[in-house]
Every structure is written in C-alpha cells, then in structure tokens.
Subunit: 466 residues, 2 copies
C-alpha cells in the first residue's frame, strides 16, 4: 500500500493537537473474569492476543515522515510493528477499587501517543478487587472517531460466551468508517455542492444560518459564541481526570415518556441538573444558561436522496432555571427548535451549514487562538454514541460496561460522552485535571439527578408545558 493522504477533517485533529490537548479518544471496557479463572488468566489472554499480526488498516498505519509531512500529512504502513508497545498489560495497586481504576485511566489518557508509530495503544488492566478486569483502548482521532472506536471494540467480541477464538481487533479487515465526525463534513461539502443545485443549497443553509444568528433567546436557538463563560471553559492543561456513571435506559425512557420528551431530552436534563448543582456549589453558575453542543444525526429532506445527515445542535441546558419541570421544558423546547431548524435542509445544505458553524472553532483550535479568547463557542459537549445492545463476551469474559473516554479542546475543559450497552447508558466524563479537579462530583450528581427528575416529573403523571 502506498502512502495515503489524510482528509482535511482527519488532519484537523493533528493540527489542533498541542502539548496541552492531545487529540486521542478511548474506550474503557470492564469484563467479568470467567468462572474459575486463575491469576494467570489475563496474562494468557494478552499473550494470545499478541499472536495476531498487526496487518490491518488503520492499526498498521503510521504518519509518513520527511519533506512535506507537516503540510500534507499522509499515512503509510509500518512494516516493523512492535506489538509489545501497542498491547500493554498493567495492574491496579491495592485495594483495586473504582478509585484506583479512575486514577490509572486518567493517567493513561494524559499521555501522548508516540508519533513514530501507529497511533493507538491498548492496555489490559488486572488487579480489580471484584473479579473483573478492564481494557482501555486509545486511538488518535485522526485515525478513528469515538463511534468507530466503539464498533471496533465490539467486533472482536462475541454474543456467545463459549467462543474463545475471536481474533484481536487489529487483525480484522477494515471497518467502513462511520460518518459521525462532524469536522469530516468539511471535506464532503465540495462534493455535495457538485451533486446538487448550488443555489438551492446555498439558499437553504444561508437561511438556516441567519435564522440561528438572529434568533431571540426565547426561541430556543442559540448562535455560536453566545455562551456564558465559567470553569468549564478554561484554558486546558495536559492532565485529565476521568469519571463515570451509568443509568438504566428503562428508567430514563419511562421518565421521558411521562414527561412528554425523548430519551435524549432526559439525557440533557440529567446533565443540566448535575452541572447546575456542581457550578452552584463552586459559586460559578453563570446567570445565562449553559449551552451544550450536541452532535445529531438527522433524517434530512429527501429531495437529494441523501438519507441521514450529521450536524451539531447548540442547545440551552436551562441551568439558570431553578424549577426542575420548567428546566426540562426549556431544554426540550431548545432541542426541538434545533431539530426544526436543521430539518429544513437537505443533506448538502446541512453539510455546508455545519461547516459554517464549525469553521471558527476549528480555526481557533489550530491557530491556538482558542486559548486566548474568553468567549466559548459552547460550554460543554454532550455526545450520545450508540453501542451494542446485546450482551457480548471477550473469550468467555462477559462485557459488563463500556465507557467512552473522549478528548477536550482548549477552552472546552469538559466532555460528556455516553454509550448505550446492555440496558444502560454509560456516561464518561473527560475533564482537564486543573480546571475541573472535582469532576467526580458531576458524575455522582448525575446519578442523583435521575432520581430527582423521576420524583419531580413522575409524581404527577405526564407534564405539559406551562
């Protein structure tokens, strides 16, 4: 295979990377040791995984070096892959609890990948007190986004606990890349314009763009860079803290139904409740509502036959509202306004619109200007990644949970990404260690927020907007 140029969207993640914000993402899997597994079980599994050659894209690709590699980065196959670098075996110190695991994951996620090698690492972690082990898989966002990372991990698992010879994920044929990465849209817009009526596309996206920019606060639409500033929007340092929380999907769905909203509305509501409580406690809650950036996949107008499109909603989290019911209605209305706006467009128009929306942010990150501005494009990202719904096994070890560990940007010190698996939503909170030393509290408050919302919204049956 010859060298392969990176797309504009992928190279964004190389260009935006700095010593203070590494652009890798990860997945954290937790597995139950099979019955009767001895202390050597994990080591033997690691040894078995190492027998699979790293010969599949993108796991065998490294950045090409030499003249022009900075201007036009490209991948090339690495012929001398050192599996002991990529697959690591580690352990937690005594007592091997959630705290020790959180510390290790935070530390692993704070370390850069070696740019001379294929940009991924996988660490198998033993020494958990409860008879489980963990798997942390880290990959540069220029190679793979979080959704593909999740799909990659699932592919080497089996719904059959007796299946003991699934190959390692780096030895499986390439995955068709999911088009979930918002910045990827930039690369697609020129093609999209070529395929359809240019004037119609420009008209649609321009109208949507102006509608958003001119929107009054009560419309539920919020323009970029209209967010208040708080500790979530600090200049970041390279050290991360990672916290997790999981919520049962059936409880979330039940309360969504009673409240007349979607599952996603409840996801935003629990995030908003937790963030409001955390910032109030820190004396740092802005008077204006926090704005969340939410990647959305939308069924667009079908005239161009393009199917689903990917864009970004900027929704108010209603954190200025003390009353839980009113806050929920506010969030729901803001999401609906976003969907109404985005739904007016065909896919090419949506793509162009998304590019207009993201361009200043991407330029800010690549030039380092984002570290010098006090006005954030949004306050925090809340990203919902679909995961496998059936129970899966790794060599007979049951997958208990799967948490996304994401990346943060300068001026964006908190990322909330959640993944669905086995009846639960698994929330991963990835934060700057300096800006958010107590991110663990947000995770705890999120767990308590669901119970609060159930009580507030559920006791009187279906809630209607005032």
């Amino acid at each position: 295979m010859a060298a392969k140029r990176l797309s504009l969207a992928d190279s964004f993640f190389l260009n935006a990377e700095s010593r203070d914000a590494y652009m890798h993402v990860a997945m954290l899997h937790r597995y139950a040791l099979p019955e009767g597994a001895g202390p050597e079980w994990v080591g033997q599994m690691v040894a078995r995984m190492k027998t699979y050659p790293v010969d599949q894209s993108p796991f065998n690709l490294r950045l090409r070096t030499g003249v022009g590699s900075k201007v036009a980065p490209a991948w090339e196959p690495d012929e001398r892959i050192d599996i002991d670098y990529h697959l690591r075996h580690a352990a937690l110190p005594h007592p091997g609890g959630e705290r020790e695991l959180g510390v290790l994951i935070s530390r692993l996620h704070s370390q850069p990948l070696d740019k001379n090698r294929p940009l991924w690492e996988c660490t198998v972690i033993e020494g958990l007190h409860d008879g489980s082990f963990a798997l942390y898989f880290k990959i540069h966002h220029a190679l793979m986004d979080g959704m593909s990372g999740s799909r990659t991990m699932s592919r080497c698992l089996s719904p059959d606990p007796s299946n003991l010879d699934m190959p390692a994920f780096w030895a499986m044929p390439p995955l068709k890349r999911a088009s979930a990465a918002v910045p990827k849209a930039i690369a697609e817009s020129a093609q999209a314009l070529a395929r359809t009526s240019v004037l119609s596309v420009l008209g649609q996206s321009f109208r949507a763009w102006m509608r958003m920019l001119r929107a009054a606060p009560e419309s539920g639409l919020i323009g970029p860079y209209r967010s208040p500033s708080c500790s979530l929007n600090a200049v970041v340092s390279p050290q991360r803290r990672f916290a997790t929380q999981s919520l049962p999907i059936d409880r979330m769905k039940a309360v969504a139904e009673r409240a007349g909203g979607t599952l996603n509305d409840i996801v935003l509501a629990v995030c908003a409740t937790a963030l409001r409580r955390y910032l109030l406690e820190q004396g740092d809650l802005p008077a204006k509502p926090l704005v969340s950036s939410i990647p959305v996949s939308l069924r667009t107008r079908e005239e161009a036959g393009e199917g689903n499109g990917i864009s970004l909603a900027l929704a108010s989290l209603g954190t200025h509202i003390a009353d839980p019911k009113a806050r929920f209605q506010h969030i729901k209305a803001s999401m609906q306004a976003n969907k109404d706006l985005l739904g007016t467009m065909t896919k090419p128009a949506l793509t162009l619109y998304t590019n207009l929306l993201m361009a200043p942010f991407m330029i800010g990150q690549m030039t380092g200007l984002a570290a010098r501005t006090k006005r954030p494009m949004y306050n925090t990202m809340v990203s919902n990644v679909p995961g496998p719904m059936e129970v899966l096994y790794l060599n007979g070890a049951r997958l208990l949970s799967a948490y996304p560990v994401s990346l943060i940007f300068n001026g964006q010190a908190l990322n909330i990404t959640l993944l669905s698996y086995d009846g639960h939503l698994h929330f991963g909170f990835t934060a700057c260690r300096v800006a958010l030393p107590h991110v663990q509290k947000i995770a705890v408050y999120l767990g308590e927020a669901l119970a609060e919302i159930e009580q507030d919204l559920g006791s009187e049956g279906r809630v209607t907007a005032a």
Copy 2:
C-alpha cells in the same frame, strides 16, 4: 521567591529535548517490605508521604511561561502543586517478576514530564512477587543531574530501620548542587578566566586540545568524532528499554588488583566485553574500537587552589581485540593517557578544555543536526555515580538496590550508568527501544563478563603489559 533564570548548562537540557529524546533522568530503588507488612503497607506509606507539602526547591519550581520564556527560561515557584500528580502508586501485573518491572520502568521512562508543572514524578510500585516494592523517581535534567538525584533519594532514608518518620525528599531543604554535570562547566568558564591568568589558561587548554587532536591511535588518546558507527549510534525514537545488572564490588576490586588496574578499568573492561559480544552476535562490531565517553572527576594542578575538576575522558574500549588480556591492557592504557592529558591542566584550563570538547555535541543536539550526521562523537557513555555505601531504610524497609535510569541523545542510543551501594555496583542500561531491542542481552553478558575476566586475568596472578 522571584523567578530564577536557568544557567546555560541547565537550559541545554531544555533546548536539546525533542519528541524523540526526553531529557529526564531517574533512579530505581528496590526495597524489602518490612516483616509482617500487609497488602495495605505500601498504600499507607504513599498516603503518609503525601502529607508532606511540596515547598522546597527544586521540587516546587516550574518553568515560567509567557513572553521570553523560550529565549531565557526561568524557574518560578508553583503555588498550586497537585501532589497526586507527582506521587503515584502503581502495581505490576501477575507474576510480578523482573520482566514485568522492566517493562513498567521502560514505559514510565518513555513518557514526557508535564511542562506546566514542577518537572518530576515519583512512582511507588507494588505487586512484586518477592515481597519487595520499588520506587521510581524521575526528574528533568534541567533541574537535577543523576548524582544529585541519587543524593536526594538517599537523604530521605535512614541507616536506622526503626526510624519511621523521615520526611519526603521534596520537603527537605535544598541540596547544594553537585558540580558533576559536565555542561555546567560552560557557565563556569567565564568566571574561571576572570580569576586567573588568561594566557596561562588558554595555553594549557590549547596544548591539551591539540595533543588530543593530533594523537596517534596507539597513544590511547582519541579525538571527538573519531569513533566508528554502529547500532549504538542510531537516530533515537522516544521509547526506551531499561535493563539492569549488579556486580559485587569486592570481586571487581580483587580482579582489578590482580590485573594491575583500577576498579574503573575493570568497569570499562566488563562493559567492553559485553558490548563486543553483543555487537559480534548482531554482525555489527566495527573494525575500529568503540569509544566510550566517561565523566571524570580529577584532582587538578593546585596552582589556582581549585581542587577537583570535572571533565570527560574519551577512552577506547578495545572492542577490536579478541584476547581479553590484551583488551584489558589496551583499555587501561587509554584511560591512563586520558588522565595524563587532563592532569596537565589547572581547573580553569580543564573547564575551558571540556567546553571545547563538548560544544559541537551540544550544538548538534540543540539544532537537531545530530540526527543527520553519521559520525558519532563517541559510541556510548559509561558513567560511574557514587552512591551510599551503608545500608539504608525507608520507613523500616531495607533498600536492596539502587539503579540509575539515564537519558540518551540522538545518535547515542545507549547509556550505561552505574551506582555503588551496599557492596555492589548497580548498572542501569538505558537504551532506545528501536535501535537496541535486545539491550537486555548486554546486561546479561555484563554479568558473565566478570566471571570471564576473573578467569582470564586471575588464573596467572598479576598480569603485566606485554
């Protein structure tokens, strides 16, 4: 305390640092768990260490940021030190043997320090199968050299096993910095010139310099950049491998006496024997002898009343000679020629001479030119650091061994540093993972080399030069 400018020598280690060669050094201590210590002992010790505030120089100093910080780097006290970042608790996976420890140390030493914080980390490692635990202390060479690192670690230990309340090293008053760092000499030369007869200093160092450059190979003197090239002199990658070996000092001294050499001659002889065997095996032994760079502390001519001076010997390791006795005599003669040359100078002249010797190397590292040249200044560094000779304890845990983990430069893929403690010389081999994937073999061969030399040199009593 106000900001404090870095000396020219210290800032060399910031300027020479690249993504492929981080400029930190470390110490690896191994301790026996006290009798009756349970699984919580190490964690409790870590918790106790964390109670000491990080308020002493250099442990509380970070690099000043802002305008001019790259041109004129300076230290400033960090008022918000996060001890959980600096002091870490880790564990080895099953079976917790030497291999697992080597893998973890190699990995820790491959990771950069966070430049936003004081440039040091300390990791306490449990899970060793033999009832011991380890302590890995890493610090940037711009803050401290290996000798000071060793002294720092020793200061928080006690010869009394019942002493259970020694403070952590970061809470002890600053150490007077040892003047062992060769590059530091540059900063001193201007002062030295001001204190003594300029013409005499220039004359001495110029004569010594010319004598070395004009020396014939059989004189034992070797000029810089006259070394052969081999895998020890590859362009390095950021990943390290670390290997260790320890040799009893009494056996080394006995064979030195029988052979009519010094302890240091035997150190070089075992290194030479191991390197020759390794390179022969790899089909990579140069026809010309390998050249070792050896930091030396010399009693200089006393006319300026300056006492000991620090310089660098470039000695032949005689690796082209198959006969062990002849090789030993060759090494001994080369070291003697170096001492004779360096001994002709007063301390100021020695300092100037050392600067002349080191300047091209330092410039090569700082500009990145070292990565593009095929001619190394020397082949490998062999550095002998004096350590504590009495048995020491950390909160009742006996220090079993102390290994230096050093740094390598571009074009210098192997560093051998040894430290004396409790009757043994502890050799640490720090190598580039790509250039020297089998550095472990060199450590094994070093152990076997002593037995070979004992047999070859010892059987006939005292050896005399042919």
